[in-house]
Amino acid sequence: MPLAPAITDIEQLKSHPAIARLLSWNPSSVQGVKYDRDEMTIYVDRSAIREACALLRDDPGCAFNFLSDVTCVDWFPSEPRFEVVYSLLSIPKKERVRLKVRLEGASPVVDSVVPVWPGANFFEREVFDLFGIRFSGHPYLRRIQMPENWEGHPLRKDYPVEGYR
């Protein structure tokens, strides 16, 4: 079964309820879209992520009321280096969508979505711990997996697999 090529043209995809809602709210919040392997990805502007999440959660046409996951991908050495990935699930509509925020390597800061979903708490702490992304507005941004006094962020690509010895 050959894979269908990914669709990245926003004109073809703007009928998707989540994209339509974000575009009608603030066209500059959507930086790009990708539809690949039956999964929708929306690249959201860094400053708009919290509002975008609240919007998609509360809009009855989208109803993405469940935050499945928050994680991060490090594209070292290219820039923007980090992609913070939010997997949203709509329990009533049985649909998923993925939001992504691109962050520069020099100052990876993004708004926390804990005010929207309190469940993001541990996920964001984990991303902070393992990638060094800072979530502004997080109630308790401390290391969660690694020891408190650990140096470095192990899941970054410039951190060796066997660690520093």
Partner: protein, 401 residues
Amino acid sequence: MAHLTPTPVLEPGQDRTMILNMGPQHPSTHGVLRVLLEIDGENIVRIMPDIGYLHTGIEKTCEAKFYQQVVPLTDRIDYLCPMTNNLCYVLAVEKLLGLEIPPKAQWMRVLMNEMTRINSHLVWLGTHAMDIGAMTVFLYCFREREEVLKMFEMLSGQRMMTSYFRVGGVSLEPPLGFFDRVRDFAGYFPERVDEYENLLTGNPIWGLRTKGVATITAEDAIALGASGPTMRGSGVDFDLRRDMPYSSYEKFQFRVPVAKEGDVFARYMCRVQELRESIGIVRQALDGMPEGPIKADAPKVVLPDREKMKTQMESLIYHFKIITEGFQVPAGEVYQAVESPRGEMGYYIVSDGTSKPYRVHMRSACLANLQTLPTMCEGRLLADVVAAIGSIDIVLGEIDR
């Protein structure tokens, strides 16, 4: 929403309270969970789970392995339901590859996935009951679990770390007599569930310890990202197997148990009902097991049979290539979620087109479920914490990874 974001427990708030450290080496924390409690007498003022004692960096390790070498690592994340993790990972890689899986392999996966769910729920029920003080149930549950593990060993050669599902199918043809043994088990298992229920469901002591204890509302459960029986115990009717089916689950008939109360007893009832539903799915899988190959026809991805390798040059070359350089996966990313015994287990895999995953992230159901603990416990008694921890069925291996 503010009430769902717990205040960190760092130092006592008032003169009346004290800080109590529970764990990480405590028999009722199901592994190495540390819980910091601020208590006023026996009442809990604040509670904060502290995790990370079992962090082994599996996500980082995955980035240095070939795709097929990650399968044994996924077993070790959640040692109570290894096959669910195998399934989720292989489904994600197959989605990246665009690989079609033969029906027999899919049905074997459903069959073994439900056996794994039974295995996991039996360990949960036994240990949860023992935490609360019902010793006997533990022995009963482990009697049946032993039989399940023996069947795992018969099938894959391993009791716990099975690694039975592989990218493109399953690793081995089920041995002679395996299906009969499973059918035997499916025959007597519902009676055994009756036995557990006789010991617990109507038991007044069990009722006192579980009913109305550690309640959580549906809205709070969704906001905190809880899934699985922890969410269904609060009345949210959502199960990935039924609502977003994978691996041909849409061809099976089963009911999703939901309870309204949101307390420890409701979660207990959900899981016990799930035991019965799972054995129903096992029976359907046995009855409708299709004939045919157990591996996809993709020589560049799936290891050839031993016999072919000895007789055909081409198979030998493919085998050598897969073992030494892995198989390449087209660039892209997928998020695949399955319904594990604990909730939504998800794998987010990013490929850069090489034979090693660029990033593997596991969405752990327990990590999200554990966040419900402060909401469940604050304002209640210290003894209820043990009941609450048991009722959300945590596995620390999965939380810390």
